[in-house]
Amino acid sequence: MSYLESNLKTVPTGIRKVLYLNYPLIILLAAVCCAGFLMLYSVAGGRPELWAEPQMKRFAVGMVLMLVVAFTPIWIWRNTSGVIYLAALLLLVAVELFGTIGMGAQRWLDIGPVRVQPSEMMKVALVLLLAAYYDWLPADRVSRPLWVLIPVMLILTPTALVLMQPDLGTSIMLIAGGGVVMFAAGVSLWYFGTVIGLVVGLVFVVLESRGTDWQLLHDYQYRRIDTFLDPTADPLGAGYNIIQAQIALGSGGWAGRGFMQGTQSQLNFLPEKHTDFIFNTLAEEFGFIGAFGLLMLYTAIIGFSLHAALMNKDRFSSLLILGVAGTFFFYFAINMGTVMGLLPAKGSPLPLVSYGGSAMIIILASFGLVQSATVHRPR
């Protein structure tokens, strides 16, 4: 008998739910998406039909989906979290067997006319299941090894599948997203300390394995690490992308070179300009004002989410919101860190801005969960 069930009568019902939506979050999400449309229009050289228009259509679908998720009672999501997780896991296995190969990895699944990316769905499903798990688990067992092992397995199973695609970026995000929920649920800090120590050790081992017959990563992944450590070593090869990306970003200056005036992106010096490096186009054309502005929009989304999580007295809702927000945070922080040369280039899109419908719809749907948790909060 959780807090939610005992206070069900204070939860708004019917049309009154509309009044309890977290409007600032909706507006912020829409604003970020609009920045994305603008940039997609710009990098397409003023041809909206190329990227901007399809992206807008997906935004519309995503917003509708977000509202549908938002008006569905939060306990339904909690009670079906196991099923959703299992479904996502099955899709991940299916992608392994029947998936379409794109960009050197097997990530896509064609179901009829729809093309889905199960790894994106898994990000939400994992957070959902872990929040439900810790809502169910009595607080005094949270840090017991056996009860820690279960969520770890829940995280590592899909992570392993995603890593086989191979998609290192999403693997890291799954671990990070799951880790955030475990952290918020109060798992002892010793565990986190230990894991971080292990990761550092693992990185060492991974680097050591290079060139041996038990090499752990693809060659291109090693090259990305090299490129990260010294992008100028191979300016026309592996380092080309990151150097051109940094030039684009840096040359923006204070106020940027003007909408559609960025030479780096408009003249194709910038690679992957509509996906991974779209932030650099924005930084080039709108300068520090634009880039920092977008960072502040993202931060505000995190801030409002955190506020919503802390205001919610239901444990499941709080953990879910923190998990969704944490995943989202890692999403944009990893992309920005990458394109600014703080992290190894590993091909992750900028959430809601980069071209890519599957990710956008899933992100909006996941914020639908945040809305649902807020709407169905006992008052």
């Binding site: 607080a139 030039i247 040359s251 204070w254 920092f292 802390l310």
Partner: protein, 648 residues
């Protein structure tokens, strides 16, 4: 219920604590991202902006229009014409072979041109336009222009190319331009980036080469934005270059044309000089060639034809050709003797038909001898013995010194190719050159312009001008640059007493107008244009004693290339000299018979500034002269002038 409530509160506190920790970590990461942005976009923005511009901004040169060259009347001698050409760009063409095949159905493109274009296309980056064919007619050009939609990557373009409207008349003066070669690039330390433009035209010979730096002009610049493949996206700004300097030469296109017409068929050269200021009015070497052939790209057959012609069309005999000046050099010998004080103006020398010295006998051209002759008579009749005698008295070094003073054996600074220095030999020269002592026979030979003495027609024209004016005039070819007259310094005096000059001039007057004058037949009868001259005949072969004993073979019996060179120098009017002419007809046999009549026509043409009236000629020659003039194919000045107007 109470316990559940308590649990819930504990759980809430824990989540709040952990949530705030998460929030703090996130704020820290956001701060790091923000700092990174600040560093790159605010602190290092200028560095990155420079890198971005370096990526995308390329500088392209705009070739300047080459300076035009005019004659002294403003008639165009070297201009620039629109060159219609067709280029192909691999990137846009797709199937290059197919497009070329289609193109060849529209315009004639030879197999070699196609092959050259194909190799070039595959060597250059895909966005670089490669010239397939140039010098298309307007009709061919428009045929391509109309069909461009069917010819992907093909683009009709217009550029500038050199043209010489007067054709062969000025080939040796102007020279010609050609595409810059690797050899040129190596030779020049010139860092001018223009030279790296493929097929950029630079002067190869003549004025075009000598004044290349001025004619070329300076490159303009276009700053263009390129994409990552190097393809031009837009022009950011452009700064036009400075066109080359327009030159006005001292030459007169009509006189030059007339000179060529008169020399036609001979291997000959002539120089017409203004004795007052050194202006070269005509400087013609025949046969000539069409310099436009070289600009176009000469075929091997054409080139072989020029090389194998025994009249050597490519050689500029006016300044490069060195000949023994023959009797024309007697002017120098006479002046040296008079100036050296070894003979007076009225002192005579006896000519028995030969001169004996050191046991050798040197013959006069007139075996019966001239009897007693003074300097006037010696020049008039070209008595060799007189000059043998006075030369021996004055010595070779004084003769050489006088030759230099008269402009022989020195390099004159004309902007033409390979201007020869000539030679006025001295004892020291022979010692150094052959390590042999100077012999008396060498002086004898030199005194009549044979032996070691070498002069070009330019040298002889300078000598005649200096004699006529009494001043050390220097020849000049450039009259004005960009409409600004090149100042002529007043020529300094030769430093010879007027008296000596007068006697030599009188001698030359008598050559034409005296009773015994060697070139009396070629005189001018119009009194205000009275002409003075000196004939010369220089042997190409040695006449052996045996041959002399048998009787010298006459020139007419010899093969062409063994005959004597015919030379003539002259000036007019005698009382107020204006123009001097030197002329050589290679293997033309006799100076008086071959060279003098041509020189007279040219001198008269210069004096009358057009075809001379028959009044100037002795009555008996007029019909012959008229027939000769009628046969000449001269340039029509009206056509030239209307051409100038239409161009303007």
């Amino acid at each position: 219920m109470q316990k559940s409530q308590k649990n819930t509160q504990a759980s809430r506190a824990s989540i709040t604590r952990r949530g705030l920790m998460l929030g703090a970590a996130q704020v820290a990461i956001v701060a790091a991202l923000g700092m990174r942005m600040r560093k790159m976009q605010l602190e290092q923005a200028d560095d990155y902006r420079m890198l971005a511009d370096g990526n995308s901004i390329k500088i392209r040169l705009i070739p300047p229009a080459r300076g035009l060259i005019y004659d002294r009347n403003g008639v165009l001698l070297a201009g620039n014409e629109q060159n219609y050409r067709v280029t192909i760009t691999r990137e846009d063409a797709g199937d290059v072979e197919q497009v070329l095949a289609d193109l060849r159905r529209l315009i004639p493109v030879s197999d070699t041109q196609t092959e050259e274009a194909l190799t070039e296309i595959h060597r250059q980056p895909p966005h670089a336009p490669i010239t397939v064919a140039d010098r298309l007619s307007w009709e061919q050009f428009s045929r391509i222009a109309v069909n461009t939609p069917a010819l992907p990557g093909v683009s009709p373009e217009v550029g500038l190319s050199r043209i010489y409207p007067r054709g062969p008349d000025f080939a040796h003066v102007l020279g010609y331009v050609g595409a810059v070669s690797n050899y040129d690039l190596k030779k020049l330390e010139d860092p001018d980036p223009l030279l790296r433009i493929p097929k950029f035209q630079i002067g190869k010979t003549g004025v075009e080469a000598k004044l290349e730096d001025e004619l070329r002009g300076s490159a303009g610049q276009r700053r263009i934005e390129v994409n990552s493949l190097g393809r031009e996206m837009r022009e950011m700004d452009r700064r036009e270059g400075d066109p080359g300097v327009n030159l006005q030469l001292t030459v007169d296109y009509r006189l030059q044309n007339f000179a060529h017409a008169r020399l036609k068929g001979e291997s000959a050269a002539t120089v017409v000089m203004d004795v007052t200021n050194g202006d070269i009015l005509a400087i013609a070497s025949d046969p000539s060639f069409d310099p436009n052939m070289f600009v176009r790209g000469i075929s091997s057959v054409e080139y072989k034809g020029l090389m194998e012609n025994d009249h050597r069309p490519l050689a500029d005999k006016t300044v490069q050709g060195l000949y023994p000046p023959g009797s024309t050099f007697k002017v120098v010998t006479a002046l040296a003797a008079l100036d050296g004080g070894v003979v007076g103006a009225d002192d005579t020398v006896y000519c028995p038909g030969y001169f004996e010295v050191a046991g050798r006998r040197f013959h006069c051209w007139k075996h019966s001898g001239h009897g007693r002759v003074n300097v006037n008579q010696a020049l008039e009749q070209s008595c060799d013995v007189y000059f043998y005698e006075v030369a021996q008295r004055v010595g070779i070094d004084r003769i050489a010194e006088m030759a230099h003073r008269m402009g022989i054996g020195v390099r004159h600074d004309l902007p033409m190719s390979a201007v020869a220095e000539g030679l006025a030999p001295t004892k020291a020269w022979k010692k150094e050159r052959y390590n042999r002592e100077w012999l008396i026979g060498d002086t004898i030979n030199a005194s009549i312009g044979q032996g070691y003495v070498l002069a070009s027609p330019l040298h002889l024209a300078v000598m005649t001008s200096r004699l006529a004016s009494g001043k050390a005039v220097e020849p000049r070819l450039i009259r004005a640059k960009n409409g600004v007259e090149v100042p002529v310094a007043e020529a300094p005096s030769l430093g010879l007493p007027e008296n000596w000059l007068r006697h030599v001039r009188q001698g030359m007057d008598d050559v034409m107008n005296g009773r015994h004058g060697t070139a009396a037949k070629a005189r001018i009868v119009q009194s205000n244009w009275r002409m003075a001259g000196k004939t010369g005949t220089s042997q190409v072969r040695n006449i052996t004693a045996a041959e002399r004993a048998r009787g010298v073979i006459s020139n007419a019996q010899l093969p062409w290339n063994r005959r004597d060179h015919a030379l003539f120098v002259c000036y007019a009017p005698v009382d107020n000299p204006k123009y001097a002419v030197s002329l050589i007809v290679e293997h033309g046999s006799g100076g008086s018979t071959t060279a003098a009549p041509i020189a007279r026509d040219i001198l008269l043409f210069a004096l009358s500034n057009g075809l001379p009236s028959l009044e100037a000629y002795p009555a008996g020659q007029r019909d012959e002269i008229k027939a000769r003039f009628d046969a000449l194919q001269l340039v029509n000045p009206e056509a030239v002038n209307s051409g100038i107007k239409s161009r303007a």
